[in-house]
Amino acid sequence: MLNIDHMTIRFGELIAVNDVSLEVSGARVTALIGPNGAGKTTLFNGISGVYNPDEGQILFNGENIKGKRPSHIHNIGISRTYQIINLFADMPVIDNVITGMHDDLKSNFFDSMFHTRRHRREEKECYEKAHDLLKFVNLEHRAHEAAGSLPYGEQRRLEIVRALASNPKLLLLDEPAAGMNSREKANLDETLREIIERWNLSILLVEHDMDLVMGVSEYIYVLSFGKKLAEGKPSEIQTNPDVIEAYLGGDD
């Protein structure tokens, strides 16, 4: 599904992502871990079109998406959440979700301006669908509150359903558990499994919470200082000496 082939992203002298290759496929969670500043979010931004990688290729179902607009990349089926919450803060919760459906809706400027039958049918459908999605993450009672007024954990969940609203094939989750309490984290585990089952999609997860990562992922890539340090199944990663040293710090 997603093949990253020798991706490099530089900011001047700093090499944030250095010759990284990875593959995400299947209806499962692939995790990307690494110490702070390892380049995980930069890599996400490289995939989703926020940055244009300096070198390498990004193939998504055979199409090279390197350097494409973020909106195009979203349209072909890669949706994401953000490390720093990036909601439409003053919009009602439900409108946030409906905005996520933007490219699935067919209404054009004419439909929008004259509220044609197509517009009315689509609006009705997407309100119902959005309510359904909000129910999925227990936010239905918040539907008409401003997104920015929600507690942190709920905002994270809203970001996830907004990303799901477009029925993506690949979901990029950037630290979804950050700021959640332990109960919310435990539920997230379950939620991710449900998402995979219901949408039949692939998840690429960046996360610092190791319990969550080891619990849900089937394959893990480890980044350190922009380079790929290791890859493998959770059990292999947990016992990999390089990984342990990167996390605990060597004493050389």
Partner: protein, 335 residues
């Protein structure tokens, strides 16, 4: 449950608009005050222009100081076409409006990459360039600084020369154009505009082609403002460059901000109020600009949401107080 468009009985939604039924009778009420009717006509023209401005600034969040240039593209466009060709006025108005929309979109394409301060500067420059052209036109076709006369509004054989006739034509235009904007902002396109205003990165990340929608927002703006400009030219019968100078662009922003940005009624309330205020200030010509400056600062500090925005806040506060009082009563009763 309250949603934007579903589930509420329709008639209830419209009850609050009943007082507006008095508007068509205003010319009769003001029969002995022709000057007042004329001011209303100008107010209508500005309502149309600020409604367009509200689409691009209030909803899409793109500041522009080029409003009087697009107003001028409409005005000069229709006037020059009338003067130098045999095209009927109905068409020159339409052509000038579409031309302005096209220019606005061509302008927006490169400019859509710019943010607040740089966007402001580029729109200011655009207005200066336009001003330069109309005051130093090739062969003096625009009448340069002297201005240019034009015939008054006459469409399909009906003359709207008199204020109390123009008023009804203007009213129909206002109703149609303001309604179209209300529909537009409550749609997929309107949501895209708002998303861009609130969070450009998230909007692009959610599949909205930000550049495309900014270009279209400018297109609507160009069309609305220019259409208002054509009406202005044919209502007054004379145009001269100072109406389209950079300083005038600020006036539209004051109207939009006073009424309330990103709202249905903001442009209407703002334009009508400012036209009246403008007229009163006209008696103190020397201090007019000073007064604008002070007013603008006062609005920004004390009325950041405009009349509509602050009004909504006030209503919400009162509702909360009532709710609080009710709850307390129930608690008291329970105890």
């Amino acid at each position: 449950m309250e949603t934007l468009s579903l589930n509420r009985p329709r008639y209830k939604k419209y009850i609050k608009f009943l007082p507006l039924l008095v508007v068509p009778f205003l010319p009769l009420l003001l029969k002995n005050y022709t000057y007042g009717i004329m001011l209303l006509c100008f107010a209508q023209i500005y309502v149309i222009a600020t409604t367009g401005l509200d689409i691009v600034y209030g909803y899409t969040g793109q500041i522009t100081f080029a409003t009087s240039a697009f107003f001028g593209i409409g005005a000069y466009g229709s006037v020059l076409l009338r003067k130098y060709t045999a095209i009927p006025m109905e068409l020159t108005i339409l052509m000038a409006t579409l031309l302005s929309a096209l220019i606005a979109m061509l302008f927006a394409y490169p400019v859509s990459k710019l943010r607040f301060a740089f966007l402001s500067l580029s729109t200011i420059s655009f207005n200066y360039i336009f001003f330069y052209f109309i005051t130093r036109s090739p062969g003096g076709i625009t009448g340069d600084f002297n201005g240019i006369f034009v015939e008054r509004l006459k469409l399909f054989g009906i003359s709207f020369k008199e204020s109390h006739h123009f008023f009804y034509f203007g009213l129909v235009c206002v109703i149609i154009l303001v309604s179209l904007k209300m529909l537009l902002v409550r749609s997929r396109v309107g949501r895209a505009f708002l998303a861009i205003k609130q969070n450009v990165h998230a909007a692009e990340g959610m599949g909205i082609n930000v550049r495309k929608y900014k270009v279209y927002a400018f297109g609507f703006y160009g069309a609305y403002v220019a259409f208002a400009g054509t009406l202005y030219a044919h209502f007054v019968g004379f145009i001269s460059p100072e109406t389209f100078a950079e300083e005038q662009s600020v006036l539209y922003l004051i109207m939009a901000m006073f009424g309330g940005l990103g709202s249905d009624w903001g442009p209407v309330i703002g334009s009508v109020s400012i036209v009246w205020l403008n007229d009163i200030l006209g008696y103190f010509e020397k201090y007019q600009l000073l007064a604008y400056g002070i007013l603008l600062i006062l609005f920004i500090v004390f009325l950041p949401g405009g009349v509509v925005g602050e009004g909504k806040k006030l209503v919400a506060k009162i509702n909360e107080l009532i709710k609080g009082a009710k709850n307390r009563k129930e608690v008291d009763a329970g105890a």
